[in-house]
């Protein structure tokens, strides 16, 4: 049995290994391996010695109160924080064994492999078709018109949006409803065939029905992708994820199988949070 890092400040962060099968979730290969990662906005440390692993074809959820660093951590995994001046990363983050912060890493290629869906849907002011085709075009993944059309349809189908928009793919994406826009953004991310899909509170701006559709989608997509989702909705984490990480004040308090986190957490802090005593 291995240790899971605790929130105790005085303890040095220790590497985490997801434990062997116990709750009916079989262990899969490690896709994302983060060791002792700290993150700084200028002099302020926003993340402190985070170590965790996300497995292939599993959904890993990050929960925690606002400002606990879960979104910041998610954004270190596709180096989205690089665009904020004055930020700095320490420690290592590996995807398929490759350190994504190594000097020879092409950030553009990394972001193609690690797709991201944002909290607020952000379709481009283009047609539905062009939104999905965007990543294909800029990365020159496929070039023939037929292939692009094929990939767009396939992605829209994967995102469970095709049936609703197939007759108007050349209409503006801005005319879609909020939930449809978010599924369009998922389709857009899927079109470039990423390995890992990062989702930053993808349903927080949606109504319950649209939220349910997104959750069903996540459940279906995990057979093909490694999904990491940030959510402030604990029920959502419990419903969609296999593993859950609880963040608190920039630290990883506990990381375990989702069922464990919600039924028998090791840490008092985790228990207090998941039972709604604070947060």
């Amino acid at each position: 049995m291995t240790d899971v890092p605790t929130h105790a400040t005085h303890l040095p962060p220790r590497p985490t290994v997801v434990r062997a099968d116990r709750d009916g979730v079989a262990d899969a290969t490690v896709k994302v391996d983060v060791q002792n990662l700290s993150f700084y906005y200028g002099a302020k440390r926003a993340l402190e010695g985070i170590s965790l692993q996300a497995q292939t074809n599993r959904v890993t959820a990050f929960i925690g109160p606002s400002g606990c660093g879960k979104s910041t951590f998610l954004r270190t995994l596709n180096r989205m924080n690089d665009i904020i001046p004055g930020t700095r990363v320490e420690g290592s983050a590996r995807i398929d064994g490759q350190d994504i912060y190594a000097p020879n890493v092409d950030v553009v290629e990394l972001r193609r492999r690690v797709g991201m869906v944002f909290q607020k849907s952000n379709p481009f002011p283009k047609s539905i078709f062009e939104n999905v085709a965007y990543g294909l075009r800029i990365n020159r993944l496929v070039t023939s018109k037929a292939e692009i059309a094929e990939r767009v349809e396939e992605s829209l189908r994967s995102a469970a949006l095709w049936d609703e928009v197939k007759d108007r793919v050349h209409d503006s994406a801005l005319a879609l409803s909020g939930g449809q826009q978010q599924r369009l953004c998922i389709a857009r991310a899927l079109a470039v065939r990423p390995d890992v899909l990062l989702m930053d509170e993808p349903a927080s701006a949606l109504d319950p029905i649209a939220t349910q559709r997104i959750e069903e989608l996540i459940y279906r997509l995990k057979s093909q992708y490694t999904i990491i989702i940030v959510t402030h909705n604990m029920q959502q984490a419990a419903r969609v994820s296999d593993h859950t990480a609880f963040f608190w004040m920039g630290k990883l308090v506990e990381f375990d199988r989702t069922e464990r986190i919600f039924t028998a957490p090791r840490e008092k802090l985790t228990e207090d949070y998941v039972t709604g005593r604070f947060g």
Partner: protein, 282 residues
Amino acid sequence: MSHTAYRTLLSRLFVGACGLAVLVALIPLAFILFFVVSQGFQALNLDFFTHMPKPVGQPGGGMANAIVGTLILSGLAALLAVPVGVMSGVYLSEYPQTRLASAVRFASDTLNGVPSIVIGVFAYGLAVLPFKQFSTLAGGLALGIMMIPIVTKTTEELLVLVPGSMREGALALGATRGRAVFSVIIPAALPGIITGIVLALARIAGETAPLLFTAFNNRFFSTSLTQPISSITVQVYTYAISPYEDWHRQAWAGALVLITIVLVCSMLARLATSRVSRLRTR
């Protein structure tokens, strides 16, 4: 008087004063429009648009050469100012914190405040003196210089309005920074930028001073870039200070045409902007 009644009265007084101020501000515009329309309309006919100026003493004639001249001069100005202004605006919105950006912003604001006659003198020194020749190019240069800071400012302001999430969306799909700007951010702001350019064109089309000793004036029809060229504003100026009654009428008509161009541009721009903001709020 109760306190509430006093407050109500005070409120009404203020609203009344504001309304009065609006009226005072609108009176000059109303008078200008009234005089230009009433005077200009009489002299306006088809000939005005299709005929050349007649020699002194012969009634009639038109300003065909000046209308074409103004179009060519404005086009040249746009040719210079749109690329430079839009690119500067992109730089300012992409790298807002750099020292160069502060310098450019300051220079642009200063340039915007430089009196147009000074810009005319500058263009005279740059493009007229060396060639010993008034020219359309020199006039376009002067107007273009006036237009650059307006286009820069509008572009910057509109690009900054594009939500950051749009940029992040593009970057997250593997776009480079430049790609994100040109394929997503500029298209998102494009209707607004075009509106800004149209308004800037309307503004410089009404300039006289920068043209007086650059494009100068031309009694004849010319589209040559290296020859002097006529423009509505300079023609209005020439006619208005002349002692001839017929030329005065022509000047009024020119003023009417000019004001109509500016008004139509503003209205088109407004229409476009309102459609854009509707799109945004959806």
